[in-house]
């Protein structure tokens, strides 16, 4: 097991750079959306409705990816939608990760009654179907961005807790932990200084996956109109609207869908890529 690892040679990873590039562009777009977006994402123009993307006949250069049935610019809406998608991904992903990983580390390392309590809680949590759970939560909390974030955190912390608990448990059984104790390191310090660095690669992979999931969840909830107010451009609501006019204007559906797909894919690839690139054990 041990010696094989050093033989695994991995290339610097096209996937790391590709996914980082895409997400980097998206972040830039989200941050500077008002400067970059060619149009006001909310501006309607019924005479300029359903303009095709730039390469098709009848396109308008001011609407590079076309316009929707209300004449709103698809590209501008995607760029502005990135603000919400990335905001949710970042906040919900990070909170979920902190809570879930923290509880997982405590349960796996200290075992005993903390583990009993946390593990039972995870078991009970997992018995709820997540989609119903989410819709129920939103119904109680009301729609809005913070409700979505809370729903994601409340539902998904178990994903981290389960995996990180198992990982912390197996790391805790390693002799380097006993060795740190022989050296006189305090228990909590062992958790932070010895075990956490060994669990961190897994946490990073889970975190980026979770960010992708958060993007999807936000899109689904906007798709079913449970997200934020409808006049805010979100990828999910764009997809929902695009679905209605798929035969007249495919671009309204396809561009946000592709953006969503690339973003989720990039998040998952980013985690794996980071792990391959920066983990000394794999390098």
């Amino acid at each position: 097991m041990a010696d094989g690892r050093s033989q695994v040679k991995r290339r610097a990873g096209a996937r790391l750079w590709l996914s980082a590039t895409w997400l980097g562009l998206l972040v830039l777009g989200a941050v500077f959306a008002p400067l970059i977006a060619p149009q006001d994402p909310l501006a309607q123009d019924l005479f300029g409705a359903r303009l095709p993307p730039f390469w098709e006949a009848g396109a308008d250069a001011a609407f590079p990816l076309g316009s929707d049935s209300l004449g709103r610019d698809v590209l501008s809406r995607i760029i502005h939608g990135a603000r919400i998608a990335l905001g949710v991904a970042l906040i919900a992903g990070t909170l979920t990760c902190l809570i879930g990983s923290g509880l997982g580390l405590i349960a796996g390392y200290f075992r005993g009654w903390p583990d009993m309590v946390i593990s039972r809680l995870v078991d009970i949590w997992m018995a709820f179907p997540p989609v119903l759970f989410a819709i129920l939560l939103i119904a109680v909390l009301g729609t809005g961005l913070s409700s979505i974030i809370i729903a994601i955190v409340v539902i998904d912390w178990t994903r981290f807790a389960r995996v990180i608990r198992a990982e912390a448990m197996s790391q805790g059984a390693m002799d380097y932990v006993a060795s740190a104790q022989v050296a006189g390191r305090k228990r909590f310090s062992i958790l932070l200084a010895e075990i956490l660095p060994n669990v961190l690669p897994t946490i990073v992979v889970l975190l980026t996956l979770e960010m992708g999931i958060a993007v999807i969840v936000e899109a689904i909830l906007s798709f079913v109109n449970l997200s934020i107010s409808t006049d805010q451009p979100t990828w999910g609501s764009m997809i929902a609207e695009g679905r209605l006019s798929i035969h007249q204007a495919w671009w309204v559906l396809v561009f946000p869908l592709v953006t969503l797909f690339l973003t989720v894919l990039s998040f998952s690839q980013l985690g794996e890529g980071l792990k391959d690139h920066f983990d000394p054990v794999l390098r």
């Binding site: 380097y176 006993a178 390191r185 054990v281």
Partner: protein
């Protein structure tokens, strides 16, 4: 040097909870692993601990360096009773008894460099000139100083075990427990590590407890030998005498069971 033995252990009992037979409610029954062990290790001695698998060798060793807390009996380290000391009270003592582990891949944190691994106990114990001491420890175990920057997976098995030894000797301990430290190594690295250990014991005046399955290694390295069987001391005598004329039936069994090419051969 005083006459106080490094270790004075009396009637040591230690048990683990038996989770396999835990009733639904209430505490698990306990399996007794160490059943009243007494032994004395004088300063500068090298004691071999042998016995069948599951006889409690590792448990005894881990109790001695207080990775485990005994149920009853007493462990005196240089006269001080450490049987039930808490982790905080043990911390200042930890510099003085160290351990070398069986599997260096598991006992070296894979995400730390060799330098950081050896420096760890030094920092925790508040040593000065940590960097110099790390270099010294590497010199002692015959590893190039450039290895400080390497990660454990970038070393061979024998080199990793040397790092484990370097970490143990860096704090200048009085006592080192070595639990099966060569069993994972090939024959030539085994010989090198054993030679190194022999040399360090001589140079640093260490007291060593050496747990092993390999009686030929025990015979070569250890002045005294302790034979454990099912958590009890069967025999504890000078190694030469023990191999020459085993007293207990179990010792004879052990000696017979393990093929030694030539028991009478004198080791170089």
């Amino acid at each position: 040097m005083s006459d106080t033995p490094i270790y004075d252990i009396e009637n040591l009992h230690l048990s683990f909870p038996d989770m396999a037979h835990k009733p639904l409610l209430g505490p698990a029954p306990r399996i007794e692993i160490l059943k009243g062990i007494s032994l004395t290790i004088p300063r500068g001695d090298v004691v071999g601990i042998v016995g069948g698998s599951g006889s409690g060798k590792s448990t005894l060793g881990r109790a001695m360096i207080r990775l485990l807390e005994p149920d009853s009996g007493s462990i005196r380290f240089e006269g001080q009773d450490i049987t039930h000391l808490g982790e905080d009270a043990l911390r200042p003592l930890r510099r003085r008894f160290q351990m070398i582990f069986q599997d260096p891949m598991s006992s070296l944190n894979p995400r730390r460099t060799v330098g950081a691994i050896i420096a760890g106990p030094l920092r925790l114990q508040g040593f000065d000139r940590v960097s110099q001491r790390v270099d010294q420890a590497l010199d002692h175990v015959g590893l190039p100083r450039a290895f400080r920057k390497r990660y454990p997976h970038e070393l061979s098995g024998g080199q990793r075990q040397r790092v484990g030894i370097a970490r143990a000797i860096a704090t200048e301990p009085d006592f080192i427990l070595a639990d099966e430290i060569v069993s994972g190594l090939d024959v030539s690295s085994q010989a090198q590590v054993l030679n190194l250990l022999e040399q360090l014991v001589r140079e640093l005046g260490l007291t060593l407890a050496f747990i092993s399955h390999d009686l030929s290694v025990i015979r070569r390295l250890c002045r005294h030998t302790l034979v454990l069987h099912l958590g009890e001391v069967v025999e504890y005598r000078e190694t030469a005498a023990l191999f020459e004329a085993p007293q207990a039936a179990y010792t004879r069994e052990l000696l017979d069971a393990i093929p030694l090419p030539d028991l009478k051969q004198v080791w170089a």
